[in-house]
Each structure stands twice: as C-alpha cells, then as structure tokens.
C-alpha cells in the first residue's frame, strides 16, 4: 500500500500528524504535509486509513 498526498489540496490542518507522527510531518514554513513513510506496514496501515478519513481537504489517498 502507498500513501499519496496532494500538497496543493493540503490545508495544513495537521490532522494527519496528530493521527500518526511516524507517518506524517508538516513543513516548518507553511505547514503542508510531508509524508515520512509512503509505504506503511502492520499497525501503521490502520493509522494511514484513519488519516485519510479525517483529512479535512481530502488531500490524502491510498493506493492499495
């Protein structure tokens, strides 16, 4: 599974970082998303799904 992030859509709300700091970070400059690990495994897969679910701008998607 791969995490796809659309940085143009991202509104920098940080919901993904709150969900799983091991997968996501925010740019210091404008808070847009940085994916730390694009191919999560194990428990992190559930976290990636949750992040997709809560992201307020539908900037995240998963390629199964």
């Amino acid at each position: 599974m791969k995490i796809i992030a659309d940085t143009d859509r991202c509104v920098g709300a940080g919901q993904c970082v709150l969900t799983e700091p091991a997968l996501f970070d925010q740019s210091e400059d404008d808070a847009t998303i940085i994916v730390l690990n694009e191919t999560p495994e194990g428990e992190l897969i559930e976290k990636a799904r949750e992040a997709v679910h809560v992201c307020p701008s539908q900037a995240l998607s998963l390629e199964e």
Partner: protein
C-alpha cells in the same frame, strides 16, 4: 423545486446538550431544504454529515462574507457590509485564500505548538491557583475559561495582556446577535485600529513573536502590508478567544454531569484528547456560522443549488448524524469522533484547531486533577447559556469545591 420555507434560521437551542429538535426532522425528512432568514430572505440548509463536508470542501461555495448575497444570520447585517474592504482570511476564496493561510500556518504546526505546551500548562496552573485562592463559589468563566485562551493567544501574538479587557469588551459586541450592525462595525474598527498601531510599533524592530516574525517573513517575500497583517492578527485574537472559552465551560458542565466519563480521563489521561474531540462534536458551538454562497450551480444531496443562493451548513446536525456517528446523542468519550465538523471542513477548517485541542486537554487534565471535588454551584437548568450568540457557550459558570 421545493415548497415554501417551513423553518426560520438561525434556530435557538432549547436544550444545552442537544440541537434544536427541528434539526433531526430536517435531516431525516428533507436534508437539503429552504429556510427563512431574519431579513426575510431564504437560504438552503444542508444537514447531513456527508453533504456538509461536500459543501465546505468545494470551490463552488464561496466564503465571501462581504458579498451582498451572502446569507445574513443577523437582521440588518447585510446592510453593514463593506464589499470594497479588504477581506479577512475567513472571508477569502481561492486563489487568494491559500497563500494567505499558508503564510501564517507555519506558526500552528503540531510540532510548533508542542513547544508551547509547558507555557500553556503554567498559564492554566496560574489561573487555577487564582480560582482556588478566590471566593467560593467562584466563576469558572472569569477565572479560567476566558483568561486561558486569551493569555495564550496574546502571548503568541505579542499583544500586551493588559489590553485584554479592551478586546473582551469589543469582541463580545462583535459576537452577540443583538448588537446593532453599526455598533458591530465600530467595534471591529476599534480593534483593527489598535492592532494596526501595535504592528506599526513592531515594524521598527520586529520582536520574536508571531506578529514580529510575520513582518520579517512577509517583508522578505515582498508581500508585507500592515493592514493585511492587522486583519490576520485581529482574526487570530477574536477567533480563538470566545470559542475555546465556551468549550472549556460547556465541557466542564458535561464532565460533571457524566461522572463515569470523567472518571475515565482521570484514570487514563491518554483518553483526554479523545474526550476533547467528543466534546467538540457534542456541543458544536459554531453551527450555522459556517455559511457559504453558491457561485456555480451544483447538486448537493440530490438537490440543485444555483449560483447566487445562500447555504447554511448545519455542523451541529452533521455531528449528530447517525450515518456518521453511532448513537449520536450520547456523550461517549471513547468513540472515535475525529471526523466531526466542529472545526469546519475544507480549506477554511479552523486554523487554530490544534492550539484549541491542546488548551482543552491541559485544562481538563489539570482542573479535574487538582480540584477533584469541583461541582457547579447552580442548577444546570439555571445556568446562563448563550442563547443569543452565534457561538454557543456560557456567560457564567459558578462552581464550588
């Protein structure tokens, strides 16, 4: 086409813990329907979770609150609009909105806010000391709910806290539904003038606070304008102040009424953040205020909405939609409530949300930890709830311990 408007909006809450009963009727009967507005005009209400998210995350719905056709929630408000004035962030649309938001967003990253945690803890402890050292019963709103967010945002921005009474007085005028439009505008102008003077002072030798750093950064980008920064400073000050305060007061009441839920966060503070999400969902203090103006025809929930028509997204109905939350009327801090829309959704979703989360988390852990015998000093039914404001909350919360 749908028939005449059955309901008038905004609708007052009759119970502090539940949306107006008509919300359910609308959501389950005619989920996108026409309602009458105070000025005599009409707008669509959108009531289901999925549809609310759709509207708030689509460019065909504008947030331009100065536009003459934007739905007016307060009688006479439309007449006081200034379409030629510069928009604040909250009223901007793409492509202007994104860059303006991103310019300040770096100050609100999760990591940046984490660094503020010890200082926020100190502020909360200081206010609880003051409450405990004061008369019993004491007013939680005055001693804790209002000063905490106010001290925190003043310190972040670099606004002297000594001036907070000035802000308090004027923001109340801006928020109350009963404030005459001219007075509301005057209050905004007064706060904006203060902010512009403060920023002019900071321009001379930009200090290491949010406003100072913005001056440096925007100057380097070649986009610095004092009025624009004053608007941003003002918005941050006003937007984060009453909102967080109301959430502190209302959640405290809800925790005290639901001791089994309170016991859970006391036993395991790892649950507090979830409880905060649930409180946000449960009260949805900002409801109809996330209105929009349709600027291009679009179908929502099977209903065609046309350009020029106003839309009220009912966040409180969305947050009680059984399609999105099981047993939605139950307060359950263990449910996963994070997909609520209490902070809105889409590009305008609350910029201060992670600051608010942290403040609420620290307040609840500290308050109930340090004052285990806390209880309301008044019947819940008699508490002065803000039935006349666009942001729901409490004017006072007498407590004893």
């Amino acid at each position: 086409m749908t028939t005449a408007e059955k309901h008038e909006f905004p609708m007052a809450r009759t119970c502090p813990f539940a949306p107006p009963p008509a919300y359910e009727e609308i959501r389950e009967g005619e989920p996108v329907s026409r309602v009458r507005l105070p000025d005599g005009g009409w707008a669509w209400v959108v009531s289901r979770h999925e549809d609310v998210r759709t509207v708030l995350n689509d460019r065909r719905f504008s947030a331009d609150r100065q536009h003459p056709d934007f739905p007016a929630l307060v009688k006479g408000e439309a007449a006081s609009r200034r379409p030629d004035e510069e928009r604040m962030l909250i009223a901007m649309d793409a492509p202007e909105h994104g860059p303006a938001r991103k310019a300040v967003l770096g100050e609100f990253t999760v990591r940046r806010l984490e660094a503020l945690r010890p200082r926020i803890q100190e502020i909360v402890d200081g206010q609880i000391d003051a409450l405990l050292g004061g008369p019993r019963p004491g007013d939680l709103v005055d001693s804790l709910s209002l000063p905490v967010p106010s001290l925190v945002i003043c310190e972040m921005l670099g606004v002297p806290y000594a001036d907070h009474e000035f802000f308090q007085e004027h923001t109340v005028k801006v928020i109350k539904q009963s404030t005459p439009p001219e007075e509301r505008w005057a209050a905004m102008v007064a706060i904006q003038g203060y902010m512009a003077d403060l920023i002019a002072e900071k321009e001379k030798n930009p200090p290491d606070d949010l406003l100072g750093r913005q001056i440096v950064k925007l100057r380097a980008d070649g986009t610095y304008r004092r009025t624009a920064l004053a608007g941003m400073g003002l918005l941050l000050l006003v937007a984060g102040h009453e909102t967080t305060a109301n959430m502190i007061s209302l959640s405290t009441v809800a925790f005290l009424r639901n001791p089994e839920q309170l016991a859970m966060i006391k036993a395991d503070p790892g649950k507090t953040l979830n409880a905060v999400e649930e409180m946000l969902r449960y009260f949805t203090i900002i409801d109809v205020a996330t209105a929009r103006l349709c600027v291009e025809d679009m179908e929502v929930g099977g209903q065609l909405i046309r350009a020029g028509e106003g839309v009220l997204t009912l966040g409180y109905s969305a947050n009680r939609d059984p399609r999105a939350f099981e047993n939605p009327d139950e307060l359950d801090i263990e449910r996963g409530a994070r997909h609520h829309v209490a902070f809105g959704f889409g590009p305008h979703q609350c910029l201060g949300q992670n600051l608010a989360r942290m403040e609420l988390q620290i307040v609840f852990d500290t308050l109930f930890g340090r004052v285990p015998t806390l209880e309301p000093a008044m019947d819940v039914d008699e508490l002065p709830f803000k039935d006349d404001a666009n942001i729901y909350g409490l004017y006072q919360l007498p407590v004893t311990w």
